[in-house]
């Protein structure tokens, strides 16, 4: 573990808009130095992306970005970030992805030169390696397309480089369904960590080559899958909360490799990264209900430096296109946060956000600033990712059990037995990588290729 102390050592310092290591873009947006900025992500309505439809795709992106800039200016926003999270076809065919970045960049540059309105583009290519089963994380033919889009997309105007990388997911998906915490720790703390080292060492190089910003990753396919499954009653919320904590050691690797933030929106592990590494983070909450439901709609804003809608389909609503609806919601949200900062009331507003969610769900409870700091401290006290994952999850379980016992946290009756079940799993998990790998290989050896993780 590179980080052995906390960049934000106490809960009073973990607040929206403030990061120990702010990041500034080429058009003058600074994240983590006061204002929280809106970050808009949108996707296409149901349609194919083919040669014959690509003209329509370009028009969707052009009109949405132009409309969003105009609407943001009309609402007196101080700036706007677009996340271009590509659809699979746009990474499989990098020329399409690059062309769309160019379209967005032209509009962003026009707003900057003509009106002085600052925007930035977060470029998030897909991780195509999942198409191989089992994935060939280091030797996949898909890597060439991914790196090409990162490289040419950054040159074309991608300011912040991000990805939802998927190393370890081939084990994690099944471990989630079985609520197998030891295997989750293996998938994230061994496979995920090793793959993140591989992926992010290269993204950081590409960012440096083009003078761009290596933003960060997200354990979306892990922690958010758990969150959605818990929301549907498929797995206990307690378990999903611990999965989130375990994901911290995996996503932190991007920063260890040189990513500077802002971390990606759907990584709800972001507050832990901010506490540990001091980077600015993007978060999503109540205004991302257009993409998925969650129990953390308010508490997610506590430490946000950008505030995102996750993604919205470009469909028409009564007021206008859905992406513009999202822009407006995000701007009003951030306007309130920024007004609180200006009035010296940031901590008061932050704590209202936390208190309105935390007692109702363990996933929200662990995102309270005080919880984040305690769990982060347990993580950085360990020397290795596996030990850190076990320590972080154990601390989280302690906090949750204590809060539930004190009547400060609602846990459904059907989940109460899981306190003991999860603790037994944690106590049974080796804290050194070698022993864990030895134990896991016979169980999962047919699901992944050890060499593709340097094992």
């Amino acid at each position: 573990m590179k980080f052995t102390t906390l960049a934000v050592p106490d809960a009073a310092g973990l607040v929206f808009g403030q990061a120990p290591k702010p990041v500034t873009t080429r058009r003058g947006l600074t994240f983590g130095a006061g204002p929280v900025y809106p970050e808009l992500n949108f996707t296409l309505p149901p349609m194919e992306v083919t040669d014959s439809t690509f003209g329509q795709v370009v028009e969707h992106y052009r009109s949405t970005v132009a409309g969003a800039i105009k609407h943001a200016q009309g609402l007196h926003a101080a700036g706007l970030v677009f996340e271009f999270e590509t659809l699979l076809e746009m990474t499989k065919n990098p020329a399409w992805g690059v062309e769309l970045v160019q379209v967005m960049e032209a509009l962003c540059e026009q707003a900057w030169t003509e009106d002085g309105f600052p925007t930035a583009i977060r470029l998030t290519p897909n991780d195509l390696r999942e198409f191989d089963r089992p994935p060939r994380n280091r030797t996949s033919a898909h890597l060439e397309q991914m790196w090409q889009l990162f490289d040419q997309g950054a040159a074309a105007g991608g300011d912040l480089l991000s990805i939802e990388s998927t190393g370890g997911k081939e084990v994690h998906d099944e471990a989630l369904m079985m609520c197998d915490l030891k295997s989750v720790i293996f998938a994230l703390g061994v496979l995920g960590v090793r793959d993140m080292e591989f992926v992010w060492s290269q993204i950081v190089q590409i960012a440096a080559k083009h003078g761009r910003i290596a933003g960060g990753d997200t354990a979306c396919g892990f922690g958010n899958t758990a969150m959605v499954l818990a929301e549907q009653g498929f797995i206990p919320r307690l378990f999903a909360a611990l999965v989130r904590v375990v994901s911290v050691v995996r996503t932190l690797v991007a920063v260890e490799q040189g990513a500077t933030g802002p971390d990606k929106d759907c990584g709800y592990e972001g507050p832990f990264l901010k506490a540990i590494a001091g980077i600015p983070i993007s978060m999503e909450g109540r205004s991302a209900a257009c993409a998925h439901f969650s129990p953390v709609g308010n508490v997610a804003a506590c430490a946000a430096d950008l505030w995102s809608n996750e993604s919205v389909q470009d469909i028409k609503l009564l007021s206008g296109p859905a992406p513009l609806v999202s822009v407006e919601q995000l701007i009003y949200d951030t306007r309130l946060l920024n007004q609180a900062t200006a009035a010296g009331q940031a901590l008061w507003l932050r704590d209202l956000h936390a208190a309105s969610d935390a007692p109702l769900d363990p996933q929200a409870f662990i995102l309270m600033p005080a919880s984040v700091i305690e769990i982060s401290r347990a993580i950085v006290a360990q020397a290795t990712p596996v030990a850190a994952a076990v320590a972080g999850a154990t601390k989280a379980l302690d906090l949750l059990e204590t809060a539930h016992g004190a009547g400060d946290l609602l846990i459904p009756e059907a989940e109460e037995a899981w306190f003991d079940l999860l603790r037994m799993q944690l106590e049974d998990t080796p804290t050194d990588e070698g022993s864990l790998v030895e134990e896991m290989l016979p169980l999962w050896g047919d699901k992944f290729i050890p060499e593709e993780y340097g094992l």
């Binding site: 309505p45 089963r133 549907q232």
Partner: protein
């Protein structure tokens, strides 16, 4: 122990996810072998297994159990099903039908599809899981191999849900009467109607109900 008692115990142990003997307590594996040796009708054994899955399914629907409980029950059931294989082959016992399921091409999401497959199998259907990123031709080939099978298509993305229509067309071009049901986060009944699907289910339990209505 009477045959009836053994059958009851099979249901209980299936629901509890007890696949094999632990200590002095028989699991589904041992109990099914005993029931058949004692002269139980194979169809009654199958009913007991399905009943056990139904119990845990009801607990799940009531929020009193989670997917791991369902998975353990499904594993226990499969231990019992192994003993019934010869009776399926001879035709003495029949499943409710065959369900060919897969995530459409271009889409890699499989958790929802896996849950549907598990639930449908636990309800007495034979399930042929084609996996993810499945091409139209693969669905058609599976129906050729399993005549009369119902096809289930899953998609999570707005850009891949449109592939369902191509699959339906390809399957029905080769096997005109094939019933195809669809599901996934962006799917609606309206979309299912628009692409000519035989039905839409919003969740695994809905898929079981839909299949039952199609098989009736």
């Amino acid at each position: 122990m009477s045959v009836e008692s053994v059958l009851e115990l099979i249901a209980t142990q299936t629901a509890a996810g007890k696949a094999t003997r632990k200590g002095d307590q028989d699991g589904v594996d041992e109990l099914v072998a005993q029931a058949l040796a004692d002269g139980a009708a194979p169809s009654d054994v199958l009913d007991a297994l399905v009943k056990g899955m139904g119990v845990v399914g009801d607990q799940f629907a009531a929020g009193k159990a989670f997917v791991p409980n369902m998975l353990l029950a499904a594993r226990a059931m499969s231990k019992g099903m192994a003993h019934l294989k010869p009776y399926f082959s001879s035709g003495e016992v029949k499943r409710k039908g065959t369900f060919v399921v897969g995530t459409v091409f271009g889409d890699l999401h499989d958790i929802g599809k896996n849950l549907v497959a598990m639930t449908v199998e636990g309800n007495g259907w034979e399930v042929i899981d084609l996996g993810v990123d499945v091409k139209p031709e693969a669905f058609a080939a599976a129906v050729a191999e399993h005549p009369g099978a119902v096809v289930g298509l899953s998609a999570l993305l707005t850009t891949t849900m449109v592939n369902m229509e191509k699959i339906i067309q390809t399957v029905r071009a080769a096997h005109p009467d094939t019933k195809v049901i669809v599901g996934g986060a962006p799917i609606t009944q309206g979309f299912a109607d628009q692409i000519g699907a035989s039905g839409y289910a919003p969740n695994p339990a809905g898929a079981v109900e839909l299949l039952a209505s199609l098989a009736a």
